[in-house]
Subunit: 292 residues, 2 copies
């Protein structure tokens, strides 16, 4: 566990440095736009997606340095989605990672543009990654785009379902699109760069899909059980905005059972992988147990 903490910290340091360099080399002129981008990117995120990418890379012998650009790109896409999701027209959140959201700190126009810019910078980072062959970069851009479209579709489904009595299928679809797609791509990027064979790739992608679902179901639970202070974002927000979540559809007890079940399936998939999956198992345990 201490080892995993260290791994997360190393990941965050490396990815933050890379993102800082990418943002600087973009030479964004308007100071307000640049500040808004930095405010949101360097707001103390967990860098969970990069950590997963590096962990899959570790499993298949892909060096972290080779994945730095892709990991930064994923984190920038994730950050842009948070900026836009927090907007008044969307989830209307004032607090994120313990501080003001982008549109509160700056203004709505700047927040929309900061999100737009981050999205572009992510694709540019992958396209310009001279450490990778062009054929690999093209696959990464395509995969990242595919995940980003699913994420947008998930957010639309989420908003359209607010206050509705959607069932288990809809809430699972929202989660798979909104959070799952980008988490799965994070694993896939390492598999693509490592040229991992289809059978193993399939297995890891099924695992990553379950991990993504665990992550979001866990988030749903934390929203109910934790305080605004520990979360760093407004607690009980899902209920007040009548979001479709696992607890709202299944109730707390059943949601915890579902989470345990997904965990079992995820670890079973890892057990079938003929590699050292210690890091991935540690991450899986961390996600199922997290309380913050």
């Amino acid at each position: 566990m201490e080892d995993l903490q260290n791994f997360f910290e190393l990941t965050a340091t490396a990815v933050d440095r890379e993102m800082a360099s990418l943002i600087e080399s973009a030479e964004i002129e308007p100071p307000r736009l640049l500040e808004a981008i930095k405010w949101s990117v360097f707001g103390g995120g967990k860098r969970f997606r990069p950590a997963l990418m590096f962990a899959v890379g570790e499993t298949y012998g892909v060096p972290t340095e080779t994945l730095l650009r892709s990991a930064s790109a994923v984190e920038m896409i994730h950050t842009y989605s948070l900026i836009h999701d927090d907007l008044p027209a969307m989830d209307d959140d004032d607090l994120r990672r313990g501080r003001e959201t982008c549109h509160k700190k700056f203004d709505e126009a700047t927040a929309i543009l900061a999100g737009d810019a981050l999205q572009v910078l992510a694709f540019k980072a992958v396209a310009d990654d001279i450490d990778l062959e062009e054929a690999v970069r093209v696959r990464l851009v395509s995969g990242l785009a595919e995940a980003a479209v699913q994420m947008v579709a998930g957010q639309q489904l989420d908003l359209d379902s607010e206050g509705s009595s959607g069932g288990p299928k809809i809430v699972e679809r929202i989660h798979r699109n909104k959070t799952g797609a980008l988490i799965s791509f994070s694993a896939d990027a390492a598999l693509i760069v490592g040229a991992v064979g289809e059978a193993e790739r399939e297995c890891i992608l099924r695992y990553a899909s379950l991990l993504g679902l665990m992550f979001q179901v866990g988030d749903d639970l934390l929203d109910v059980t934790e305080t605004t202070e520990t979360l760093g974002k407004t607690a009980a927000k899902d209920e007040t905005s009548q979001k479709l979540t696992y607890p709202s559809v299944f109730g707390l007890v059943r949601t915890q059972e579902i989470l345990a079940d997904i965990y079992e399936r995820a670890t079973a998939l890892l057990a079938a992988v003929d590699r050292d999956t210690a890091r991935l198992r540690a991450i899986t345990d961390f996600i199922v147990h997290r309380r913050y």
Copy 2:
């Protein structure tokens, strides 16, 4: 002129068909998101950027079919920027191409997401373009991203300058970023695909940069001289929102002189190109004379 009209119509037909196919194959599930995307994309744009790309292609013997994906990508990036620029937090426009803007027809959240989705689809279209070599696709993704970042920076500069007494340099910088970058890339995409040599590329890019400036200065003039009905968007909008424009900085008469001067420089550049530039000259004339 009649020939040019025909060229624009053929361009629009081809690009619209390609965009329809790209949007369909993205399998966007939420019906509201899909409708919003279609509403904005198929709202009767001139497809000026694709036409410029095809015209440069024609000049260097690059077949239109080879550029269809890139042209569609540019048009999708352009459309996303219009959707976001029209939002209440930005330029707050209700009318675009003679009909309701995306957020008026649907809602703000859907408009933000439709713009986000279009941006991603543009990058995916280029990355997946199997008619082009991977090395070419990577250059196109990077160039498109570079232009899109500049466009966002230009919009931020534009908003930040509202009501300010910025001078000639600032208004030129806004225009070069906000409109010029994507128009220049439209020309560049054809040059990249056609593997046109650096010297010629340099010349065409300087021409495209002037054409882009002409285009926007012309837009500034039209905003002052035309009615909402002929424009299909709210007339005299720049003045009411205290935008920094060529007429606001230089006055009407001087702006017309500047436009004529840019036109001279642009045609001089074309004259130096040792190719059949009839189509590009026709486009240049069209831009300087347009009244609609």
